[in-house]
């Protein structure tokens, strides 16, 4: 771990932080990325949404994410995309490249959104999907036979219920597939009745685990009268050797194979974030992991960030250190990632010591999937057109990006990665110019 002065300091270890750091490096400047963990990206599903739905009384589903952004800006003119849309392509390229360098392949569809089956038995809209889900994408009109495989004891994914649900749900999206399901019993972990995605993924990372899985799938398929065109599996084909495992399963089964999208499990977030970190290191970023920034001060010349290095608890206070740079990019996440925190009913951005407002029960819509989205999600830090934090006291040295920004609702819009990378690339470039 190197504690050294770099041109720019990025706070946050998720997709936004990674892209901001990449932009700084593209500008020929040095960067340190400080983070405790991957924040919201640590629990992501592994695919990338850019702009899926324009929220409103009648939500608009976006076929193309770029057209979707235009439609969104027509309804919400002050949306943060209005400030950073022009950097979307560069941001997406940066993220895809970092992930690829770290061994995580992402595929786009010429600007179109696609639908990916998920663990809930429905379909999620995405602009980019990982190699692990490329074959899972719904193909409207394709009359294919799809086998959904579950693993006995893995209650996180019920293959029978999921297949029945996909069968019905696909009709809304033009799907014409026939879904089948089966539950295989993997014996590698003894006689335990319940297993989690993590245990399954860890077991499938071993040679014996993968061999057992392939043997079971082949046995099932050879004893079945149908030739399946596609096999869907829960998102648990390994933490580490996932792409290698997928290729081996495809070879053995001679059909398309893919995972369904996770709605946050321990496996997909690990794959995605660790690939980004490997990509960042390969590109030359200085990663300061396991470190929390507690306080930021700016002067006319630069920024200093007081940090605590190492995990902290009652016995371990961590080690204090100060990181210095010319500018800082705040990519600390929003409500999920930890950049925005609640103090009772008040909502604060702790690092800026900035109160955003209050959220009380009366303000919340009881309908969790209200098509207009929850209003409070639009709270966040306000930024100027160049992504600079719009507060006088920071000497123009602090920029912000990602879900900590105000005027966006990534949950209802299905726009989290798009907003993150577009705003982060712009913030990174601006910070590098300081």
């Amino acid at each position: 771990m190197k504690i050294e002065k770099t041109d720019v300091l990025v706070v946050g270890g998720g997709a936004a932080g990674a892209v901001a750091a990449s932009a700084v490096l593209d500008a020929g400047k040095s960067v340190s990325v400080v983070f405790a963990n991957g924040g919201g990206s640590e629990i992501c599903g592994g695919a990338m949404d850019v702009m899926g739905v324009v929220p409103g009384e009648k939500p608009m589903i976006c076929e193309s994410y770029k057209e979707g952004i235009s439609q969104l800006l027509a309804v919400y003119p002050d949306h943060v995309y209005g400030k950073c849309e022009e950097q979307l392509d560069k941001g997406l390229d940066a993220l895809v490249s970092l992930a690829k360098a770290g061994g995580y392949t992402l595929h786009g569809f010429d600007g179109k959104n696609v639908w990916v089956p998920n663990m809930m038995g429905t379909f999620s809209v995405n602009a980019f999907v990982p190699e692990m889900m490329k074959d899972s994408v719904l193909e409207p009109g394709a009359e294919e036979k799809v086998l959904v495989i579950g693993v006995k004891g893995n209650v996180a994914f019920n293959a029978v219920a999921a297949a029945q649900s996909y069968q019905q749900y696909q009709k809304k999206l033009g799907g014409k597939a026939i879904y089948f399901s089966t539950e295989i019993k993997i014996g590698g972990w003894g006689d335990r009745r319940k297993i989690s995605d993590g245990e399954l993924a860890d077991y499938l990372d071993t040679e014996e685990g993968l061999e057992e899985l392939i043997g079971l799938i082949k046995t099932f398929c050879s004893n079945n009268r149908y030739q399946f065109d596609k096999i869907l599996f829960p998102p648990a084909l390994g933490y580490i050797h996932y792409e290698e495992n997928l290729a081996k399963i495809k070879d053995a089964c001679d059909c398309k194979v893919g995972e369904v999208e996770a709605l946050g499990n321990s496996v997909t977030g690990y794959r995605f974030t660790r690939a980004l970190y490997r990509g960042l290191e390969a590109k030359g970023a200085n990663l300061v992991r396991g470190t929390v920034v507690k306080e930021v001060e700016t002067t006319a010349e630069g920024v200093s960030a007081k940090c605590i290095i190492g995990l902290t608890d009652q016995l371990h206070p961590g080690k204090e250190a100060t990181l210095e740079s010319s500018a800082l990019v705040l990519a600390a996440g929003g409500f999920v990632g930890g950049g925005i925190k609640a103090r009772h009913t008040e909502v604060w951005i702790e690092l800026l010591n900035q109160k955003l407002g209050s959220v009380v029960v009366d303000q919340l819509d009881r309908d969790a999937v209200n098509p207009k989205g929850q209003g409070f999600m639009r709270m966040g830090v306000d930024v100027a057109d160049d992504m600079m934090v719009a507060e006088g006291q920071y000497n123009g040295r602090i920029y912000a990006c990602g879900s900590i920004l105000s005027h966006q609702n990534f949950a209802s819009e299905r726009s989290s990665v798009g907003v993150a990378v577009a705003s982060a690339y712009k913030a990174g470039l601006q910070a590098a110019g300081k």
């Binding site: 924040g39 993590g198 946050g264 977030g269 190492g310």
Partner: protein, 347 residues
């Protein structure tokens, strides 16, 4: 100082721990959970389901002692929940309530009295007490006399005298992990007196290092982990190995004291250093967990066996670890022999 149980209301933390550990994001991220499983039937993990109220801790006695992951879970807690700290508190409550599971009773007793839990332990002292360096040998070392001899060779090469001993056992580490702070303090006090005589205190046991830094923070400047010490003198020691070295790092160092982490590519400049995918801040431990892992040997063997599978996957000439305790844990898997850094540089 980060927020901890000292500054947060316990009941709030308790439920947050239960929630985040059962989210299928953190529970999986501990070697124990990955091996013995979590009961996800009701969306709750086995280890934490019975923690439904703070008064029912006795029902999770076994699980609380089993949840020894050296902070791996904490690395993924995105809302700063000190998972390990909560489990330490639960262990303490269970001990206070005299509800310690049978398998853990000898370990708890040893922690209280400061005795050693290892059958092979034999008190060892070598060198003069008025030496330049105090070297604290891991109580888990299979042959403490040999370890002392190895470190004496190192210190002779750098022209320093050394006093080696394992008389302080784990220096209060297990007592700390059970929330027995008075016992831990008692165990460290004698050692503290002795430590004052030396300019440098070195240990080859990352758990001892943790205990020293927690219980004697005023002497932190003179405390070194073995690889940190070797790094300081690498030019004098002339380390010129050119093998492919598979490195198993210490979770205690990488997560709690990352500023002490040593770059082995710099330490062994002419060797090829390889690490498994789970390394650095994500490193997975041997499962011995400072001794608690001994109580359920089948779990220990499964966890260390899993880690060994990762360590053996890539081509290498030798597997080394700086921590003598971790070497013992990994060797419980009875696969390829893992040697310590000291073994390696003295070979």
């Amino acid at each position: 100082m980060g927020e901890s149980m000292v500054t947060q209301e316990f009941s709030k933390l308790y439920y947050r721990t239960a929630n985040c550990l059962t989210s299928d994001i953190i529970a999986d991220f501990a070697p124990v959970s990955r091996i013995v499983g979590v009961d996800t039937s009701a969306g709750l993990g086995t280890v934490f389901t019975a923690m439904g109220t703070r008064f029912d801790m006795q029902y999770v006695a076994k699980e609380a002692f089993m949840a020894t992951d050296s902070y791996e879970s904490d690395t993924r807690s995105i809302d700063d929940t000190p998972v390990n700290e909560i489990m330490r508190y639960v262990r303490h409550e269970i001990i206070e309530g005299d509800m310690v599971p049978e398998a853990y009773k000898p370990i708890v007793e040893a922690a209280k009295t400061g005795s050693c839990i290892y059958n092979q332990y034999k008190e060892t002292k070598s060198g003069n007490e008025d030496a330049d360096i105090l070297f604290l040998i891991s109580p888990a070392a299979p042959d403490a006399a040999k370890t002392a001899e190895q470190f004496s060779i190192v210190s002779k090469t750098i022209e320093k005298s050394v006093y080696c001993t394992n008389q302080y056992k784990d220096c209060g580490y297990l007592a700390l992990q059970m929330g027995l702070f008075d016992e831990a303090t008692k165990q460290i006090n004698l050692l503290k007196k002795q430590m004052q005589q030396y300019n440098v205190v070195v240990t080859d046991d990352s758990y001892i290092l943790d205990a020293l830094l927690v219980l004697a923070p005023e002497m932190a400047e003179k405390i070194r982990f073995i690889d940190e010490f070797v790094m300081e003198y690498k030019n004098t020691l002339k380390l010129s190995e050119n093998e492919t070295i598979m490195l198993h790092q210490s979770g205690v160092i990488e997560r709690l004291y990352p500023e002490k982490s040593v770059d082995y590519k710099e330490l062994f400049a002419s060797a090829k250093i390889v690490t498994p995918a789970r390394c650095g801040y994500d490193v997975t431990d041997s499962g011995l967990a400072g001794g608690l892992g001994l109580a359920v040997p089948e779990n220990l063997m499964a966890i260390s066996g899993r880690r060994m599978a990762d360590l053996m996957k890539e081509e290498h000439d030798v597997i080394i670890t700086p921590c003598a305790y971790e070497a013992v844990g990994l060797n419980c898997a009875e696969k390829e022999k893992v040697i310590t850094l000291l073994d390696y540089i003295c070979k």
